[in-house]
Subunit: 219 residues, 2 copies
Amino acid sequence: MGIRVNFENNLGELKSKITEMGELSVVALERAFKALKTQDVEIALKVIEGDTAIDNLEMDINQFAIWLMAKEAPVSRDLREIIGVLKISSEIERVADFAVNIAKATIKIGNTKSLLEITHLEKMKELSIDMLQKALQSFLEENIIFAKEVGDLEDEVDQLSGETYKKLTAYLSEHPEETNQLVQLLFVNRYLERTADHITNIAESTAYLIKGQIYDFNS
Amino acid sequence: MGIRVNFENNLGELKSKITEMGELSVVALERAFKALKTQDVEIALKVIEGDTAIDNLEMDINQFAIWLMAKEAPVSRDLREIIGVLKISSEIERVADFAVNIAKATIKIGNTKSLLEITHLEKMKELSIDMLQKALQSFLEENIIFAKEVGDLEDEVDQLSGETYKKLTAYLSEHPEETNQLVQLLFVNRYLERTADHITNIAESTAYLIKGQIYDFNS
């Protein structure tokens, strides 16, 4: 097998690990939100436990990438791809961390009358998952169209996050007895906004890989 | 000049850029807190503007590291050092981002009677800066003692953060008219807790560099 074929195979393995990490993070976000919505501490604990697998995958990817760099001493585009893989895996890890943060907020809220319906959090979660899937597809298929769509969806999440902040703080001023839950929902609102930011970073790294040019979809 | 000397020189330059980034982040944290304490929007805006220089330094470091890897194809400890530099610069960048977040919270609070004195936020800021300076010193001098001290200080920040959360939410239940400021202070409390986490990651990366062994000072 030629050096080139070997390198492509190794890069392919790195990419499939990225896909696995991405899929696990989608599951983590879905589960964390289900836990929040149904106030189910058991599911929340599963999200927290499940994060170790995602962290381990990131370490795997880092070590594999370092080994590949040491072995092949890649240059130009190949090197950019490996650095891209490292950046993207660290962004996915942060998305998964936000799922854990949502799970922890769920536990802090406990069992009480849910105020989720006064927020846009569910819609924001759906948009974020859509964004993550598009960002991953963009990376795997080297498709810049999907990467650009991620940037557009982020604007929607930002908009919804601003509105949710206003609704929650207004409600809080009138219902101080709900402080605990409302503060936690304000944190979840922030986590989902940040989740969307990090998914946008994945799309930007991908766009950079494809075009060799730096993008800023956040601004 | 031998290849070895050349490599050491380049690594030295990377390390001096890390120091510069660290120093700028200390300034950003100090300034952001001063803005929060004196409710000075001008200073807050300076922190936000100043973040570009830190972001640019991180990009510089990334590109320099990639160039060095492509040029020297380093292995074992040398490679670990460069990967360490990349990890540490990305953690410092996140610390600087929290300074920006504190500056933004300051702007959202605006001019009103400050409730900072009911919190431990100033003490947490001081501990964080102490941690960052120790973590950087540990990295530059390859001194594991400082890295361990960072882990101890993080426990203190966590403790103070927990207490501050309780104080702020209790106050909020009784003073709903202060919702805006109190919610922003709750966010600042979270940012400082996360700042301490990321500084601990710097210390862990440093400990890994020195000992070639993975540490978890967070747990």
